[in-house]
């Protein structure tokens, strides 16, 4: 479904992705792990077409995403749902209007259908009855759940989640992870999630890919990753300061 081939990206001469190659199957829940500032968000922004690569390919269902412009790109993006690291909720409108936004703007569904769909999603994320509130009135965990509801309201084929549990306490982290797992089972989307919540993500991921020094050093099932002999992977998942990953 998603193929990333030899992806390279630099910022101000500083290489971030150095020939990264990765494939993600339809229906899979892949978690990309790696150090903060290691390029996980940069990779995700390439997958959703916000960044253009210096070289390499990003293929979504065989279509070269960086080659698309205008309406073709917008059409492909309607298959996406994105949960941003900071949620990216619209401050000036209510929770209900935030979740309804993509349906109102990108579909011709009648208002009653939109209303029912939004209420259903809010209920699924445990926020039934909170539609009238504004994002500023919600806790961090609730805002995250609104962002997840908005990402899923259009029934996307692929959902991208950029560190969806950043800044949340351990109980909320587990709650959000279980929510993602349950919704993934129910709605059967393909999910690509950037995270460094070790070991929580091993419970929910089908496959884990370790990003280090601009490339995927290992991509395998959680069991294989946890038993990996790769020193980079071992150091990262055990959180050790000594090893091939230089702590700066």
């Amino acid at each position: 479904m998603i193929e990333v081939i030899d992806l390279c990206k630099s910022f101000n001469g500083q290489p971030v992705l150095k020939g990264l190659t990765l494939s993600i199957a339809a229906g899979e829940l892949l978690v990309i792990i790696g150090r903060s500032g290691g390029g996980k968000s940069v990779l995700l922004k390439h997958l959703i077409g916000l960044f253009r690569p210096d070289s390499g390919q990003v293929l979504i269902n065989g279509v070269d995403l960086p080659g698309l412009r205008g309406r073709a790109l917008d059409d492909l993006r309607t298959k996406f749902g994105v949960v941003f690291q900071g949620n990216a909720l619209f401050d000036s409108v209510s929770v209900f209007d935030n979740v309804a936004f993509p349906l109102r703007e990108k579909t011709r569904l009648p208002p009653d259908v939109i209303h029912a769909r939004v209420e259903e999603r809010l209920e699924q994320v445990g926020l039934a009855g909170a539609g009238h509130k504004f994002p500023a009135e919600l806790s961090g965990g609730m805002r995250k759940r609104v962002a997840i509801a908005r990402a899923l309201v259009t029934e996307p084929e692929i959902v991208f989640l950029d560190e969806p549990t950043t800044g949340l306490d351990p109980i909320l982290c587990t709650t959000i992870h279980h929510l993602i797992r349950d919704l993934h089972r129910k709605l059967h989307f393909t999910a690509v999630m950037a995270s460094h919540e070790i070991p929580d993500i091993f419970e929910i991921a089908h496959r884990v890919a370790m990003l280090h020094d601009g490339v995927i050093v290992e991509a395998a099932s959680p069991e294989i990753i946890q038993a990996s002999a790769n020193p980079v992977v071992r150091q990262f998942i055990q959180g050790e300061t000594e090893g091939p990953i230089q702590v700066t």
Partner: protein
């Protein structure tokens, strides 16, 4: 060796880099407006966003326009009266106040006040939307942020600036009346009668054309600076300052050019 050779060229390199970067920035600034203008003519218009921006720019600026308009007219009335009285020409106070306001001070002061009152807030709002990834969110939903965010702001600027300028002019003329007639003792008939004689329709349309142009200039500069905000909260602060400075400079420069061209 290479360091020694390159040292004399360094100022030339810096100058060249500055020149290229300035040209690039001006090009991006112009393209931003060009793209917004193109999207203005591609339906559908985001009507709810347009109304929201009209309220934001127009209604919220009303109190400051009323206040500054009244005091500008009063100061103008007082100073002009004192000057004209030296020549025994107090009767011309009405036209002097009206012409100054309608042709020049009304459009310029209104634009400067709206820049300070809502232009900076617009830049901050769009800048925060940028750094909190709200603009990215609009984009990945398959929507065009230019159409959704910028076009309603530009249109609201074009719609509200002439109205705010007209209000400023009327309140300013009444402020001049208060000082000239009620305090200095000029007759009401002279104040308004001479105004009818000397103020032509061309003077009023000149002011209105200026206010249309300033509506575009202010919303263009402020939304551009917000749209390309970077580097977190410091970036928002910098963008807001730059937007106010850029808008103010453009208002004064553009005022001169329009004043030279219009009748």
């Amino acid at each position: 060796m290479s360091v020694v050779r390159s040292t004399p060229l360094r100022p030339v390199q810096s100058l060249g880099r500055w020149g290229v970067e300035s040209l690039e920035a001006m090009g991006r600034f112009a393209l931003f407006l060009g793209e917004a203008v193109v999207w203005t003519f591609i339906p559908p218009l985001k009507v709810s966003q347009f109304y929201r921006r009209v309220h934001f720019i127009g209604v919220r600026s009303l109190s400051v326009i009323l206040l500054t308009g009244a005091f500008t007219g009063m100061v103008l009335g007082l100073q002009t009266f004192l000057t004209l009285s030296r020549f025994g020409s107090e009767a011309l106070l009405g036209p002097a106040v009206a012409l100054s306001l309608v042709r020049e001070m009304g459009p310029v002061f209104t634009a400067l006040m709206v820049t300070g009152r809502t232009g900076s807030a617009l830049t901050a709002e769009i800048g925060i939307m940028r750094i909190t990834e709200q603009i990215d969110a609009i984009q990945v939903m398959g929507l065009n942020p230019m159409r959704y965010l910028i076009v309603p702001i530009l249109l609201a600027g074009v719609a509200t600036f002439p109205l705010l300028t007209a209000i400023f002019d009327v309140v300013g003329i009444l402020g001049g009346y208060l000082v000239g007639v009620q305090i200095m003792g000029l007759s009401s008939g002279t104040y308004f009668g001479e105004m009818r004689t000397f103020v032509s329709l061309d003077d009023i349309t000149t002011g209105l054309w200026k206010s249309f142009a300033f509506g575009v200039v202010v919303t263009w500069a402020c939304s551009y600076k917000g749209y390309y905000t970077a580097q977190g909260t410091v970036g928002v602060s910098r963008a807001t300052t730059e937007a106010v400075v850029l808008s103010s400079v453009l208002i004064l420069v553009w005022d001169y050019f329009m004043g030279s061209v219009l009748p």
